[in-house]
Symmetry: C2
Subunit: 503 residues, 2 copies
């Protein structure tokens, strides 16, 4: 049976190579059934693995309170604590032809960890117990971890040991290293340190659909030994391999401080950022976050600040470096934001004040929810990213569109990178439909500006219908050909990332 | 015929997916013959493409004066000036089953652009005429170029237009953007800006073996839309696609200055660098280059310096930033190198002095050749890279090994990254054999320290025999499976990167 399936898919791949981009043979996954689910459960328990199969767990692991995409329960949840556990699960999944979906932080927004379908959920591997630090190589500035560890835990562990290094990719609170790799994450630090596409993962260990364990590279910081398979798993959303261990590159931890500037409009704020990121001091800007007038209104409404801000489009800055560098940077920023129309510049005068200021940026989502006021309010969070100079146009057109459709919203963004987040509020199905429409138009708007439908949240089930529009048939077809080569039975996180298509 | 070939290879790929890592069916490429070469030449000329077929050109394009690996002449050299030209050549190559090898700067060191074999050289596509700047997006900090442009030309074009941005990857003089992508390049700036594995290529356009043209991404700086096919081509040495256009991310051009410090030994120099790269000022260190005592001897012997250096292990620094940042960094460096045993620290007091100092680092290879003295001397250049803390051990053991075998050598390295270059001199076949043995042992030494056989020169024909030792069977097998999926006829740069193996 396995052989037959392999050969058929092989033929599909060949047709790609012959110049036809879409495989001629449609991939109709032929998965096992409930009988297989029962057998796998039994075998997992026999092997001593911890299995959950109560309906509540199966649902919880398959859905997110922050995402409103269609989702399904899993058939089995199994907890993994080692690479060997993952191999065991994958081998059983292959034997019984059941889908496998990795789960760790559970913070992603595009339905990445939903079960496969209503009729067959598949096996969910919970990696959150794989949260050990394996080795810290302080002199080399790197660290080996199990992939289920949260990024905040990585930094807490380093701080606890008084090691003045940190891991600079900062996706959402609670996100894990494995999850950040899966979605191709970034965060507020990206303007200074780049993203998951950069060089922060020196190597990784992954379990492939055939049960093999590979390590993508050795521990040298640089290598020009062939194309780098590490990058194959970054943004693959668990569809090509399950990442179990990672060597993280770390950065020196520098002193930081925080400032806020307020502007007459988004255009002025963005042009100030453009000038700043060309200045001699640009490397001292660790973060520069845009919070629009509504976001500031929400923060003011939440009312936990010692500062009273104006309800104006604002920039939150984090500076880094030696004390004199921070001073020089802050002076320059003050001058430049004034030139671009800012009437106000608040520089934190103490560590406490800096933390207080930055706190407002961090709790933006909660402030937004409090602001809308209704206890049944839900927030749809989405992001797109455009070339930085297109950001003002994107923001202006999007706000106009949102207003025209009567949606309550806040906007915030990693403005140095052209990455824009919209928080769209809704209270019922009618408003949800309006929000969906706004997200749909936002994606097309980003594409029309040569941007991407997601700067850091990924594709999942939420955006796969736009993948071809964004990348073109040929590029998606090549992604699919690689997927088919590595996972011919389509076992790994099926239904995510790749668009469905008719046979 | 094409179909048969595809199906057979498809079966090979399937066997990978079934758990056996090495395809069961050995890939014996069945290429066309001299008759096909004649036909392709005729068709290319009919289509108006510029073809070279004089023996001198066929040999020159297939060999390098700086590499001593076995090489073969090409059968045809054809000049491409557009993506369409490349598609034309690739389609003819596929029709007549001839290997295709891209050529652009011709500076690589591991035999990347040799013809396929003595009996059949294949088609060499010369991309060096594809050197146009297509678009500069100054406000977005990016630039679209044809891939055959040299990296120095990119920076010259920006300077000519008074745009204060630059492309920071600085491989060997004369190297092109396409070549840097192919080998996964870096250079002296890597300690500050990272390598080709980072985020400097926003997207690229590639011609695949099936003749399709794909663009890997849009122009946003960040995207989490699936796994990034850009990275598939970085380090692939032209075996997966021929890159024709690239959107480069640019960095702000900052003021720089230069300093030299001299140490009692390599260990002291490396420990000074480790401390410096943890300091508050580390982002102001654009380059930190180790030149060993022999290298300094060669530079002194070349005698073009206004400075007289001691024959000692030395660090050449390039600082960047605002004038006050450079001053603060330089003061800190002076203090730290003194603490680690440096008796001398020369900071350039003018732009001219800085250029004069840095010039010595740039012409190191020529100084080494002049130092050996014999006009028939040749230099084998090789590099490895290890975790930074292992560099002193690597240097010490390598120098001992080289001395024991009576080889004249200089050592220089991008010490901040643990990347080490050896220049090994030889004058005849006997000495060449000794050099080969030293390189062989150096690769194993790097592996024993969890390092890589090449930090920035690539694999080519020179190091493919070590690929499995470095990455493991599983990882190499996955690379090969991807290669077979994309290039089932093994047309693109065959004989490079992937190790040969018995059926």
């Amino acid at each position: 049976m396995l052989l037959m399936s392999g050969v058929a898919l092989g033929a599909g791949i060949s047709s790609y190579a012959l110049g036809a981009f879409e495989p001629k043979i449609a991939r109709k996954p032929q998965y096992g059934d409930q009988n297989d689910v029962l057998k796998v459960k039994e075998e997992l328990r026999l092997k001593g693995l911890q299995v959950l199969d109560d309906p509540k767990s199966l649902e919880t692991y398959g859905s997110s309170p922050n995402s409103y995409h269609p989702s399904s329960s899993h058939s089995i949840v199994v907890k993994a604590f080692s690479t060997e556990d993952v191999v065991t699960v994958v081998n059983l999944a292959r034997k019984h032809k059941l889908p496998v979906t990795p789960y760790s932080g559970g913070t992603s927004l595009e339905g990445h960890f939903s079960g496969y379908s209503e009729n067959l959920g598949g096996i969910c591997i919970d990696l959150s117990g794989m949260n050990k630090v394996i080795q810290i190589n302080e002199d080399d500035g790197d660290m080996v971890v199990q992939a289920g560890i949260r990024w905040e835990e990585v930094n807490e562990e380093l701080a606890k040991r008084n090691i003045p290094l940190f891991f600079p990719l900062d996706p959402g609170p609670g996100a894990t290293i494995a999850g950040g790799i899966g979605t191709g994450c970034s965060g507020t630090n990206a303007v200074r340190y780049g993203t998951a596409r950069g060089e922060w993962y020196i190597n990784l260990t992954a379990v492939l659909p055939n049960g093999e364990v590979i390590k993508t590279r050795r521990r040298a910081r640089k290598s020009s030994t062939g194309f780098d398979l590490t990058k194959l798993f970054v943004g693959a959303e668990g569809t090509l391999g399950i990442v179990t261990e990672v060597t993280l590159r770390l950065a020196p931890k520098l002193p930081t401080s925080v400032a806020v500037a307020q502007f007459p409009d988004v255009q002025s704020a963005v042009s100030a950022v453009t000038e700043l990121l060309r200045s001699d001091m640009y490397t001292h800007i660790q973060c520069v976050e845009l919070l629009d007038v509504n976001m500031m209104r929400a923060i003011n409404h939440a009312g936990q600040s010692n500062k009273a801000f104006a309800d104006k489009d604002s920039l939150f800055f984090k500076f880094q470096g030696s004390p004199s560098s921070i001073k020089e940077t802050s002076d320059l920023v003050k001058k430049i934001v004034k030139k671009h129309g800012s009437s106000r510049f608040d520089f934190a005068r103490s560590k406490e004040e800096a933390e207080e200021l930055w706190h407002h940026r961090k709790v933006a989502l909660w402030s937004a929810m409090a602001w809308v006021g209704d206890k049944d309010v839900k927030i749809w969070t989405t992001d797109v990213c455009v070339p930085p100079s297109k950001l003002p146009q994107l923001v202006a057109e999007t706000k106009q569109d949102i207003d025209e459709h009567g949606i309550i919203s806040c906007v915030l963004g990693h403005v140095g990178d052209g990455n824009f987040h919209a928080l769209l509020a809704f209270r019922n199905d009618e408003e949800l439909e309006k929000v969906k429409g706004a997200v749909h138009r936002l994606v097309h708007r980003a594409h029309s500006l040569d941007g991407t439908m997601s700067g850091e949240h990924g594709v999942g089930v939420g955006k796969k219908e736009y993948l071809v529009e964004e990348l073109g048939e040929g590029t998606v077809s090549l992604m699919r050909a690689i997927k088919q080569t590595i996972d011919p039975m389509n076992l790994f996180n099926p239904g995510k990332l790749y668009p469905e298509k008719d046979p």
